[in-house]
């Protein structure tokens, strides 16, 4: 469900001059391997056949993000948005070029990726908080706030597998937005839950912006990004084709 556009608050981000993320000439190539077996490997070696097709996901991308900025990444499917986000978070490594960061990063590539269905809500909050880089003291201190934000107080000691999908996503999102990273990477997660909850999430994003956090957001919700971001980067086939004013960026994407 896409968020109601009227509910999206105006951006509260105040860009500064301090650089937080530096992406220099990053190139990422994927090899599309069809099978994971030794047999395949041996046979293709014998036949001198090429084992894999390669695919250029990122092609010489340069990008600098400053503290306090909220940068949107837009582009059609397969343009390399998520790959770029994964490269910043450290899940993927560039083949060429390099990425540098300053401060702690929390990457939300997928809501609830670190959640385990057989653990209770409480255990998952701790596990996920720790995965996102919080210490035990930090989680202890924020625990009540996280649970209150997700509005699932009565079910916090129930195994997550019994949660409805909405409850699950709310808890996962709640953990993520309470990790207090310096750099927050968000991939398509602002379409979580019902409308009141979405409004709450956007409110929270606004608070993070006010607090001077740096954000990189990937989304297909162009109107929402236009309001939230201070800058938008348009990617096409792994290359940056536009970097600047949100309204112009969206026009660029739509024109192509």
């Amino acid at each position: 469900m896409s968020p109601n556009i009227d509910a999206v608050p105006e951006s509260a981000a105040r860009p500064t001059d301090r650089e937080m993320v530096r992406i220099e000439h990053v190139t990422k190539q994927f090899s599309l391997r069809h099978d994971h077996s030794l047999k395949e490997l041996v046979f293709s070696a014998l036949q001198r056949k090429k084992l894999a097709d390669t695919f250029l996901a990122l092609d010489d991308v340069d990008l600098t993000v400053h503290a306090g900025e909220t940068v949107g990444l837009i582009g059609f499917n397969g343009s390399g948005k998520s790959t770029l986000l994964k490269t910043i978070s450290g899940v993927l490594f560039p083949d060429q070029g390099r990425v540098l960061l300053r401060g702690r990063v929390a990457g939300l590539i997928e809501v609830g990726a670190g959640f385990h269905p057989d653990l209770s809500g409480r255990e998952n909050v701790y596990l996920n908080g720790a995965i996102l880089g919080m210490t035990r003291e930090q989680i202890d201190a924020r625990f009540d706030e996280i649970v209150a934000f997700s509005e699932i107080e009565e079910f916090i000691d129930t195994d997550v597998k019994y949660y409805s999908s909405g409850m699950f996503l709310r808890l996962a999102f709640s953990v993520a937005v309470h990790t207090e990273p310096d750099i927050f990477l968000v991939d398509e997660i602002l379409s979580v839950g019902d409308e009141p909850f979405q409004r709450k999430c956007l409110e929270r994003i606004r608070e993070l912006q006010k607090a001077g956090r740096t954000m990189v957001v990937v989304s297909h919700e162009l109107e929402m990004l236009e309001k939230l971001c201070t800058r938008i980067v348009v990617l096409r086939k792994g290359r940056t084709v536009f970097d600047g004013d949100p309204t112009e960026a969206i026009a660029t994407l739509r024109a192509s």
């Binding site: 994971h36 450290g90 490594f93 960061l101 590539i109």
Partner: protein
């Protein structure tokens, strides 16, 4: 596989940049991660323990049941039918102290091998130090090992064995060699298994064979009788598992009164290099394996997310 490997150094911030607070994503403490990330490691261990026995009525009891069945089977087949217990005093203790070693080896090796592929959801979506996965599976294996060790100690006590400094030393050395060696192997196979799933089947094969290729069921002197003096006997003796199993025999079996009595009449009960055997060779092999394992793992961990 992807293109030619690129130098890692070129992607790390220079010293001047580091001074300004820059770092590369995924730049972590390497093999020291399990120490620096203790809290996360503990949570991962707890998760694995919880998940392992979900919906099972016996739960942790299974870690008693499995070795017990194994022990009884071997004891009847080899001890009674093949009459190994006639020449080996306290054969039950002899057998069980070996079984315990091989089980721990199998569990650490097998779990570590599957640790990256088994945590696919985490590895491919969120950054966390991947070294934590094989380490947490080792700790899980240790948790299952404890009850077995307890049973072994009780069994040995029943045969009149008493703890001694030699026993303690042999046990500590044995554990150290076993864990360092198996973690080394496990990190290599975990990294390979991310690329080729065949590896885990191969590992199962090794674990199956391990019981028979170390002196768990029979005595080293029997091996010496048939292939003594050959290259193969040396290889057999240098097998770190052989060394560890012999150390465990020294720790729990060798100094129980029944054995001490019989050694006087039957010197074949003595293992070749009493009392600690080739511990130095075992430790050396273990450390070398661990170093190789760490290097292989560190080099390939950057590709895990895209290979899964």
């Amino acid at each position: 596989m992807s293109e030619a490997p690129r130098t890692r150094a070129g992607q790390l911030p220079t010293r001047a940049e580091q001074a300004e607070g820059w770092r590369a994503p995924g730049q972590d403490a390497g093999w020291l991660n399990p120490v620096t990330e203790r809290f996360l490691l503990r949570l991962l261990v707890r998760k694995e323990l919880r998940v392992r026995y979900r919906g099972s009525a016996l739960g942790m009891l299974w870690s008693y049941v499995k070795p017990a069945v194994q022990f009884i089977t071997f004891y009847i087949a080899l001890g009674v039918f093949l009459q190994l217990q006639r020449d080996t005093p306290a054969y039950a203790v002899y057998l069980f102290s070996g079984i315990v070693v091989v089980n721990l080896f199998g569990e650490v090796f097998g779990n570590a091998t599957r640790s990256i592929t088994g945590n696919q959801a985490l590895v491919s979506k969120i950054y966390l130090p991947s070294q934590l996965f094989p380490w947490s599976s080792m700790i899980v294996a240790l948790v299952h090992f404890l009850p077995q060790l307890l049973v072994l100690i009780v069994g040995a006590l029943l045969f009149g064995w008493l703890p001694s400094p030699t026993a303690a030393l042999a046990f500590v050395l044995g554990m150290a060699i076993l864990l360092i060696f198996t973690m080394g192997l496990g990190m290599i196979t975990a990294a390979l298994n991310a690329a080729f799933r065949d590896v885990e089947n191969f590992v199962d094969l090794i674990v199956m064979v391990a019981t028979w290729l170390s002196p768990v069921l029979y005595r080293v002197s029997m091996v010496e009788e048939s292939i003594g003096g050959t290259f193969w006997f040396w290889l057999y003796q240098l097998n770190p598992l052989t060394i560890v199993v012999e150390l465990f025999h020294v720790a729990f079996w060798r100094y129980s009164p029944e054995v001490v009595e019989r050694v006087a009449v039957d010197p074949s009960l003595l293992s070749p290099h009493e009392p600690l055997g080739l511990w130095w060779a075992g430790l050396l092999i273990a450390v070398v394996t661990f170093v190789i394992g760490t290097v292989v793992f560190e080099r390939s961990k950057r590709r895990f997310a895209q290979e899964l």
